[in-house]
């Protein structure tokens, strides 16, 4: 028996038609902002490449990442993504428990040495030798290090794994530490957000399966295709910001008219995420659309940056720090023609709508 079936084998076995399969491929291409021609490549990869074995480990977390992941609209997680990757170990959704589960973990590590992906949800607490999080009778830190040793790459799901999130908020009694500070010898892809958008999570996995490499990352280690724009850049309330029309108080006239929530503490101007373009729940809405400001959940240390309802005042500092790809135009400001041109070109590129996206 073949050790690894392809994704296509699996969905055929599940009775999914080739037509649906190809439809899935073009949706996947669209969700990653790739041109429609790439759908063919995705289909080809799915048909020929073996599924990627994935170990999904859980540290200090709330399972919101898993909850988000299994609700992905397209690619449809329940039928497709879970078939696309071979989720060999995930305590949340696997049938096995106890010794059986731990055996599955060990088995995968041994069998696919250097070829599996380690997905980490939550982070390890380092204080008291990691005693604040015990998995299978051992500190989670140990399990994490053990599983990461032979992994091809590590995906940090959510803000916990990427930055630390609430358990690392001041004073951080358990010394919860983001994954990239514990695993330093493997490529770590950060997919921050609390939780991350489902389509972003599946998009990252699809990309890795299709192209057999990591997506392009920004300087903070986030996939550029989903984290290069701020909420503010593509917010549908942006014209109200431009026009200086703000909600001044909850439930005032401006709130009813859907004005900009900046004065109510919206962190959109400093938050890099795809919420305002991809939105949530199959593209239905996102926080700002339902009348609440962005809380900046995908940014580093968002719990320690003051109240969710406090207006951004140190936007200057914050903005520059958060913008991973800004090129030396900070200190001197944009002055020289060359720098101006560079800034203009990257802005023009950033503002472009995803190629091949037609939803």
């Amino acid at each position: 028996m073949a050790a690894l079936e392809t994704f296509y084998d699996v969905i055929r076995r599940q009775g999914i038609s080739r037509r649906s399969f190809l439809k899935f491929c073009s949706l996947a291409a669209a969700s990653m902002g790739l041109p429609p021609a790439m759908a063919g490549r995705i289909a080809h990869a799915m048909e020929t490449k073996p599924r990627i074995p994935v170990l999904w480990v859980h540290g200090l977390e709330c399972t919101c990442c898993s909850e988000s992941f299994i609700r992905s609209a397209h690619p449809l997680a329940k039928d497709v993504i879970l078939s696309m990757i071979s989720l060999d170990y995930d305590p949340v959704i696997m049938a096995a428990a106890g010794d059986q589960a731990e055996a599955a973990l060990e088995d995968t590590i041994q069998r696919y040495k250097g070829n599996y992906i380690l997905a980490v949800e939550g982070n390890p607490p380092l204080n008291e030798d990691g005693m604040f999080c015990i998995v299978g009778g051992k500190p989670f830190t140990e399990q994490l290090k053990h599983a990461a040793k032979d992994a091809m790459a590590v995906i940090s799901w959510g803000s916990c794994a990427s930055w630390g999130c609430v358990q690392a908020a001041h004073p951080n009694p358990t010394q919860a530490t983001p994954v990239h500070k514990v695993i330093t010898d493997k490529p770590v892809i950060k997919v921050p957000g609390c939780p991350p958008i489902a389509e972003v999570m599946t998009g990252v996995v699809t990309y890795m399966l299709t192209f057999g490499r990591l997506p392009e990352l920004d300087r903070q280690g986030r996939p550029k295709m989903f984290y290069s724009q701020r909420i503010h850049d593509k917010c549908y309330r942006r014209p109200h910001f431009d026009a200086g029309q703000f909600v001044e108080e909850w439930d005032d006239e401006g709130a009813r008219k859907g004005y900009c929530l900046y004065k109510m503490g919206c962190k959109g101007p400093t938050t890099y995420n795809a919420c305002s373009t991809t939105r949530w729940n199959e593209g239905v809405s996102f926080p700002i659309q339902s009348g609440h400001g962005c809380i900046g959940c995908s940014e580093d240390g968002f719990w320690d940056k003051g109240s969710f309802y406090e207006r951004l005042t140190d936007i200057k500092q914050f903005g520059i720090e958060a913008n991973a790809d800004k090129i030396g135009m900070t200190a001197a400001g944009v002055a020289g023609a060359a720098i101006a041109t560079h800034a203009a070109l990257s802005a023009v590129k950033r503002a472009r709508a995803g190629k091949g996206e037609n939803q």
Partner: protein, 236 residues
Amino acid sequence: MTAPLLPGIFTGGGDRLGEQTRLECGVCWHVYDPARGCEVWEIPPGTPFAALPDHWRCPNCDNEKSVFLPLDQAPEDGMDSRVAALVACFEETAQRMCDLPVHNPALRVDAVGFRPFGEGWLGILITPWFMNIVLLPKQADAWDHLMPGAEKQRHALPAGSYDFEVARAEGMGTYQTCSLFSPMHEFADHEGARLTAEAAIDALMTAEEEPQEAEADSRRIDRRDLLRGRFGGPEN
């Protein structure tokens, strides 16, 4: 001053003439070119028509200034006045924005590189709190049926597709915007912002060649070729 002889001719509204605009005498077709000035009246080169003294007359037929017609100015399509209105509108908004942290006091409201595009005019608007691509409709009420915030409008610019937000402002009607920068703290001075805006509008108006994907695409196997035993696309 006597009433103008012909309707529609230049009647002193010099503020609406460009500094470089040449004018032609409505009677003898003599052309006044600001770049060359006027030897007969000893007017130095570089003098706009509006700055000519009142006693200046056509050096050829001795008619008054008022008979001159703008020569190379395209018939007024309203772009300049609409862009001016846009700037004025945001200058007013700036009064309300100036005490917010998103306001960069080194900058001012400025419109850069507006030009006709499709059914509107496209250009870049700089304010102390954002830099946007702005699309103004030629017909002021053309987009009044669009709901602000409801759906993004996609436009194909030479550089690619861009999604525009629908915006509505008092006195400006409905127009569309696409964000380039906001807030504007990376700009130390207005000059830098202008340079960036100019480079951006140039980039937007220049077609970007497709990367290798297009090439790979052309090598796809054609079904007909495949059946005829030719793989890897047509040979000739």
